[in-house]
Symmetry: C2
Subunit: 352 residues, 2 copies
C-alpha cells in the first residue's frame, strides 16, 4: 500500500456513494447504479474512472447541469439500431439502458448498434460491454469526450480521448475485455507526473506550440497524442463519427467540458452494440475456441523481461478479486473529498 492511501471495503464505498447521489436528488435504484459504476472502476484498478469522479458528478447535479432523474426518449428505431436521447441524464444509468436495448435488438436480429445522444460522462466503457457476456454475446461500446487529443500532424486537441471497449465471452477462462483510450495516455497520468514533479515519457504529449515535450506542465497546456501515431488518430476519428455524428449530436470542439461548462448539458454521445454468438455457431464451440486462444497466448514463451503474458482485461479481473478481498486503496485526497461531500449532504462518514 502506498503512502497516503487507505484500504476501503467495496460494499461500504458503494453504499456511501449511493447515499450521496440520493442526497443530490437521484432515485435510489439509479443512485445505486451510478455508485456501482464508479466502484467497479476502482475495483478494476481504473482509478481515473472511479470515485475520484464523485466530486464533479455531485457538483454538476447540485448546480442543475445534469438531470438527476433518468429520462430516455427513443428518437429513431430500426430492428437492429436505435438513437436514444439521454435527455442529459447521468451517464451510467442512460448507458446501461442503451446497452440493454442493444442486447434485446441483438437477440432479435443477431447484431445491434445503438446511439445514445445528450448523455454524460459514463465512466469505464467495459462496465457496459460486460453486460453482453451473460447473454453469450460480444459487447462493444465507445464514447466521445471533450477534445483532448491532437489528430496526427496537428498540434491542437480536436478529438476526444475516445475510449472504446469490447467484451468477449469465454468458457472456463476469464472473458476477454479490452477497454482503451484512443490517446496514448489518460490526462490524469500527466497530472500525476506534475504533482510528483517527474518528467513524462517522450511521445505522450505536445506543448501548445506543437513541440514534443516531457514536461508535464507544458503537456497539460498542450494536448495528448493519439496512441500508435496515425493509427490511433484514425481510430479516434472513427470513434468521433460513430458516437457524436451518428447520434446526430455534438462532436470535436462542439462537445463541452464537464469540468468547465456548468450551465447545461455537455452533449456527450456513446454507442452500444452486441453480437449474438449463437447465430454464428454453437456457443459451446465458440467458448472452447476462445479458451484455446487464451491458453495459446498465456502459455507462449515470453519476451525478455516479461514475467507473464496477459490477455485484455485479465489484470483488471485479478485486481478486482484482490480488492474485493482486501479493499480498495483510496488516496487520502479522494477520501477527504468524499468525507466533505458527506458533511455537506449530512451523510455520516463510514469509510474511516
Amino acid at each position: 500500500m502506498q503512502d497516503g492511501t487507505r484500504l476501503v471495503n467495496a460494499g461500504k464505498l458503494r453504499e456511501y456513494c449511493g447515499l450521496l447521489f440520493r442526497k443530490a436528488g437521484v432515485p435510489k435504484d439509479e443512485a445505486d447504479i451510478n455508485a456501482d459504476n464508479l466502484v467497479e472502476a476502482d475495483l478494476a484498478g481504473v482509478e481515473s474512472h472511479g470515485v475520484t469522479r464523485m466530486g464533479i458528478y455531485l457538483k454538476r447535479l447540485r448546480v442543475g447541469a445534469t438531470n438527476p432523474v433518468m429520462e430516455v426518449k427513443t428518437v429513431a428505431d430500426a430492428p437492429g439500431t436505435a438513437v436514444i436521447d439521454a435527455c442529459n441524464s447521468m451517464g451510467a444509468v442512460s448507458s446501461r439502458h442503451a446497452m440493454q436495448v442493444a442486447i434485446e435488438k441483438a437477440k432479435n436480429v443477431g447484431v445491434s448498434f445503438v446511439s445514445l445522444r445528450n448523455s454524460n460522462h459514463n465512466g469505464m466503457a467495459a462496465y457496459y460491454t460486460k453486460m453482453a457476456l451473460e447473454h453469450n454475446m460480444i459487447g462493444f461500446s465507445a464514447t466521445n469526450s471533450a477534445s483532448r487529443t491532437a489528430p496526427w500532424g496537428s498540434r491542437v486537441a480536436l478529438l476526444g480521448t475516445n475510449p472504446f471497449s469490447w467484451a468477449i465471452p469465454a468458457g472456463k477462462e476469464l472473458p476477454i475485455v479490452a477497454d482503451m483510450a484512443s490517446c496514448v495516455v489518460a490526462r490524469g497520468k500527466i497530472q500525476l507526473a506534475q504533482k510528483k514533479n517527474v518528467p513524462i515519457p517522450p511521445g505522450w504529449a505536445l506543448t501548445k506550440d506543437g513541440d514534443e515535450t516531457t514536461d508535464p506542465t507544458a503537456a497539460l497546456s498542450g494536448c495528448v497524442l493519439p496512441f500508435g501515431g496515425p493509427k490511433g488518430s484514425g481510430i479516434a476519428t472513427i470513434v468521433e463519427v460513430l458516437t457524436g455524428i451518428l447520434a446526430g449530436s455534438a462532436f470535436s470542439t462542439h462537445i463541452r467540458d464537464m469540468y468547465a461548462d456548468f450551465d447545461g448539458p455537455i452533449y456527450v454521445s456513446q454507442y452500444f452494440g452486441a453480437i449474438d454468438v449463437a447465430v454464428f455457431e454453437p456457443v459451446a464451440e465458440f467458448k472452447a475456441k476462445v479458451d484455446e486462444l487464451i491458453t495459446i497466448i498465456k502459455t507462449s514463451p515470453k519476451a525478455k523481461g516479461v514475467n507473464e503474458v496477459f490477455l485484455p482485461g485479465e489484470i483488471e479481473a485479478r485486481t478486482r478479486r484482490e480488492r474485493l478481498d482486501k479493499g480498495i486503496p483510496l488516496s487520502t485526497l479522494t477520501l477527504d473529498e468524499l468525507r466533505r461531500e458527506g458533511e455537506a449532504y449530512g451523510v455520516p462518514y463510514t469509510l474511516a
Copy 2:
C-alpha cells in the same frame, strides 16, 4: 520515379492481370474483380497488396490450392447476420459477395455483421468497406492471417497482422477511409530493409529469442510487434475472435500460410458489416457534419515539421488520382514476374 521502376497504365495492368487469371481457370467476371482488387491497391499506393501478389495467387490456382470458380454457401443466417462459407474461393470475389450481403442486411435492419469462413487472402480491406459508401452506409471489415504478430509480452507470432478498415461517407469532402494492420508494420517493409541492407527502427520486431532488434534479418526470423504496444495487441486479439473464431473456423497458429502450405485451403476468415446512416439521422445532415469534422482537422495548426494534416484515406485517394493520371510505378522485379507469368500462360506482354 525511383530507379528500377516503370510507370504502367492502370487500365492496361488490370486487363493484363485479368487475362492471366482467366488462363488460370477463373471465369471472366471474377478474373476482372480479382485484377481490379490488386490494381486498386497499387493505385492507392498500397503496393504490398497490389499486383506483387499475382505470382502467389496464380501459383495457388495452378497447384489447385485455391478454388478458381467462386462457390459460396450460407451456413447460418439471421436478419442482421450471416456466416458464409467461401468454399476456398478467391478472396476478392467471395469478400465482395459477403460485403454485398452485409449491405443488403443493413438496408433491412440498420446494421449487419457477416462472417466469411474458408476464404483466402483478400487484399486491401478498404476495397470492401468502400462498397458501403454509395449506399450512404458506413462499412467495416477485417481479416485474420497466418500468425506474424506476437501478443504483447510474448515473443512468438501467435496473431495475424489482422488488418481492419472503416469507410465513412462524406459530402463535398473525400470519404474517411481507415485501413490499418494491427501490427506496427507490414512484414514487406522489413523484407525491403533487408534487401536494402538498412536497419529497421526500434519497436518494430523481436528476434526469435524475444530480444528487440533493428536487424531486419533477425526480425524476419522472429516476429512483428503489435502497434501501440498492449493496445494494438488487444485489437489484434479482438480481430482474431471476430474473424476466425466467430466464423467457426481457424484462428491463431491453426491458420495456414499461403506462401508455405500448398496442399489445400489456408482457412482465412473475414468479417464484413455496414451501418445504414439513414436510420440514425438524415443523410445530408450526417454528411455535412463529417465534412465539418474533416475541415476542422484539415485547417488546424500543424505540429512542428508537419506540412499538412491528413485524414485517414486521404493520401491514398490523392495517390490514386495521380496514378490514374500518370501511371502506377512498378518495380522491374514485379514487371519481370508479370512478364514471365504471361509467357507461361501464352498472354502477350502489354506492359512494356
